[in-house]
């Protein structure tokens, strides 16, 4: 272990002895993080364009279904979980059904924007023109505008209006019946008449222009400077991009070490091949982590959020860096010249980073590009960062992404270690 650490420290000393490396590690990433973060902040925050909202329908009636449909229509950014969950499990539910306790916990931890609970008897109350409460849980300040709350209020307002219309129509019907000495309607006919009044009222209210417009930038926090939200995108994005530049650059260094015979000299020392390889992997893993820390430190100074689970954030960083380190070792044996290595670093970094959402959120690209983007490890890392930073997720929420990155790392390492050229 001591030998491995000695090699890592020596290689880091050599890396930092070259001033050009400091420009690539420090100056350019810092500048780009600031510029991109500020720019994205000015155009809307760069955060997710979908809001995860848990919804529990204890009524399961036609009217509660209408309420849900109305909610969807009021704000297409809302993803009602579990009803609207997608193949990528945007709701982060896994295999488990959504229970009230877990849903409350998700809302309280910020992993969902809100929880809406439609109580049993909702339809009966509306039809009977009776008071009923819909439970709403959210971390957002109820005094500040929230896109979910605004949508819900708008929908409930319409439901309330329709209910009032129904109540008035019912009373009118009863009064007319009494005044004209007509025989009273049987209950089934009366209920059918009132329901048709309710539904027609809903339809007419729905046809009105939508009262709520969704804005991401200052939806949850009116007072916050929009540019700081931009760093929630640019921090992880630029961090991941420059991790690729720095770590993939190791391909050229490994080639140079073989050419200048320092690698072979290590082989002639009383060290096993595994120790040498572990040390070289350790060097690039360390450099990748240093790169993330530099960019995140800039992000922190500029107001970037880090979510509420630092160990999970560290785990995502480590998994991504490990994956890129493995990619470096898988490609290094096939590189013939330092020029070829530099070209490949540029090609891979500048294609995989935007493809995976390092420059802009994947949610603003077409569906097929979003799917295609997941061939890039950056997409998995950015998904996880988004879960942690924007949705206050925890370790369990990002386990799938960490799993994918580690699995890719394992496959690439097997390939890289088997074909690693010592001679």
């Amino acid at each position: 272990m001591r030998s491995i650490l000695t090699i890592i420290l020596n290689d880091l000393k050599i890396f930092f002895a070259q001033r050009g490396n400091l420009v690539g590690l420090l100056v350019i990433p810092v500048l780009l993080t600031l510029v991109v973060g500020w720019s994205i902040g000015q155009i809307g925050g760069g955060g997710p364009t979908r809001l995860r909202v848990d919804l529990i329908d204890n009524d399961q009636t036609e009217l509660s279904a209408i309420l849900i449909e109305e909610l969807r229509a009021a704000n297409d950014a809302l993803v009602l979980c579990p009803l609207d969950n997608d193949a990528d499990d945007f709701c982060r539910l896994g295999e488990d059904p959504l229970q009230l306790d877990s849903a409350i916990e998700r809302a309280r931890s910020g992993r969902t924007s809100a929880l809406i609970v439609i109580p049993a008897g909702y339809a009966a109350a509306l039809e009977g023109f009776e008071r009923i409460n819909i439970d709403y849980y959210s971390l957002s300040d109820p005094l500040l505008p929230s896109p979910v709350l605004q949508s819900l209020n708008a929908v409930l307002q319409r439901a309330g209006s329709a209910s009032i219309t129904t109540g008035v129509a019912g009373a009118l019907l009863d009064n007319l019946t009494a005044a004209t000495d007509l025989p009273p309607l049987d209950k089934e006919t009366r209920d059918g008449f009132l329901r048709s009044i309710y539904l027609r009222s809903q339809e007419m209210l729905t046809e009105q222009p939508p009262p709520v417009r969704f804005r991401v930038a200052d939806a949850d926090n009116e007072g916050e400077d929009g540019s700081s939200n931009g760093f929630n995108q640019s921090g992880p994005g630029m961090g991941s991009l420059y991790v690729m530049f720095t770590v993939l650059g190791g391909m050229a260094v490994l080639l140079r070490e073989r050419r200048q015979w320092t690698l072979q000299r290590l082989m002639a020392l009383p060290l096993s091949r595994a120790q040498i390889l572990a040390a070289k992997i350790g060097v690039y893993f360390t450099l990748g982590m240093i790169q993330y820390f530099i960019v995140f430190a800039v992000g922190a100074a500029a107001g970037m959020d880090f979510g509420s689970d630092p160990p999970a954030l560290l785990a995502v960083m480590a998994a991504f860096v490990l994956c890129i380190t493995a990619l470096t070792f898988a490609l290094a044996p096939w590189i013939k010249s330092e020029g070829q290595a530099r070209g490949l670093v540029l090609l891979l970094s500048l294609s995989l980073a935007p493809l995976g959402g390092a420059w802009w959120p994947l949610e603003i690209v077409p569906e097929f590009m979003r799917t295609l983007g997941h061939i890039s490890p950056v997409a998995w890392a950015m998904n996880a960062f988004q879960d942690l930073i924007w949705f206050n997720g925890g370790f369990t929420d990002v386990l799938p992404e960490i799993g994918v990155l580690l699995a890719a790392a394992a496959v690439l390492f097997i390939f890289g270690i088997r074909s690693f050229k010592y001679e």
């Binding site: 030998s3 000695t6 090699i7 020596n10 000393k13 050599i14 002895a17 070259q18 200048q260 015979w261 320092t262 072979q264 000299r265 290590l266 082989m267 002639a268 020392l269 009383p270 060290l271 096993s272 010592y422 001679e423």
Partner: protein, 334 residues
């Protein structure tokens, strides 16, 4: 005397991209005794570096094994490597670090540390006469200075055995002399065993207790210089450099039959230097003769009579070059 290095049927085969194979080393058997300088002499591409790379654990043999102080390099490589120092042909140093930082790093890899490491690094810098440049980066050094640090890096663990793979390639005569003297010092004062590869006959002759001559991946002769030169008898070698002209077959026969003591003649025709060049190397005539100096006037007279343009003549007594020539029909530098 105890054996320090022993190889048995050491063989290395490489695969080419087209699927064919090339056998770089073809079953080498070596025995190197403790405290001797053993030179592997051979032209470029003979397999010397591949052999030394296998013995030092850099390259895994395709077949066979080598033992260092009784430890197998394939199955007990850690123990074997602790007994050896390695000075590769390339300057295997980090150019961005100073001489001292380089030596300190490699010293730490041998488990040295603290004052012992500082002392050893300083001793070696003194030994290679670079203590005053210890803080300078390697990339500011001349070729000869780099070679000396390269040598020092191979001595950090005070090994009983050191491999040196053509350590004088591409350096000035002064640095070369210093390195050759250092190699002798290592044997004479520290009792070190040295395995030295070279394609320069003069170096092998000056340094070696025993020599192994390698060609096309095989050891074609091995022994002390006296034992080897005995193989070519007592013949002198008369080397004629001739202008760009072909030597006719009948002239060669005439020289051989008309001059007493001439045993055989090798004729190397002139060769174009490259496809793009009209210049060519001069032709050479190598004549083996007993009592060469006595035969010389008669040979010159015969060549003169045939209008051969003699540019230079050298009379060489039996040496390793002659052995190589006798065994392969080619000069070492060819």
């Amino acid at each position: 005397m105890q054996l320090m290095v022993e190889t048995r049927n050491l063989r290395k085969t490489y695969s080419r991209p087209d699927g064919s194979t090339i056998e770089a080393v073809k079953g080498v058997d070596l025995e190197i005794r403790q405290g001797e300088i053993f030179s592997l002499l051979g032209p470029n591409g003979a397999g010397k570096t591949t052999t030394i790379s296998m013995i030092s654990g850099l390259v895994t043999p395709t077949e066979g094994d080598a033992t260092i102080g009784g430890f197998s390099i394939t199955t007990q490589s850690m123990q074997a490597k602790r007994l050896m120092g390695f000075v590769p042909q390339e300057i295997a140093l980090y150019p961005e670090l100073s001489a001292r930082q380089n030596l300190a790093f490699f010293g730490r890899m041998y488990g040295l540390g603290g004052k012992a490491l500082s002392r050893r690094v300083y001793e070696l810098l003194e030994f290679v006469d670079l203590a005053d440049r210890q803080k300078d980066r390697i990339d500011t050094f001349s070729g000869g200075m780099k070679r000396r640090v390269n040598l020092a890096a191979g001595l950090l663990n005070s090994p009983p055995l050191i491999y040196m793979d053509e350590p004088t390639v591409g350096i000035d005569p002064q640095s070369r002399r210093r390195i050759l003297d250092t190699v002798k010092l290592l044997r004479d004062e520290q009792g070190m065993t040295v395995l030295y590869t070279t394609h320069l006959m003069e170096e092998a002759e000056e340094l070696s207790d025993r020599v192994g001559i390698m060609d096309h991946g095989e050891i074609i002769a091995m022994g002390t210089q006296a034992e080897l030169t005995q193989q070519v008898g007592e013949e002198d070698r008369l080397e004629f450099t001739i202008g760009a002209q072909e030597i006719a077959e009948d002239l060669v026969e005439r020289v051989q039959h008309q001059t007493a003591g001439v045993t055989r003649i090798l004729s190397n025709p002139p060769e174009q230097i490259s496809d793009d060049s009209s210049e060519s190397t001069p032709a050479r005539l190598i004549i083996f003769a007993k009592r060469g100096r006595t035969a010389l006037p008669q040979i010159i007279q015969t060549l003169d009579a045939a209008d051969v343009d003699i540019q230079s003549v050298a009379v060489r007594e039996p040496d390793l070059e002659a052995v190589f020539l006798a065994l392969t029909g080619r000069a070492l530098r060819d």
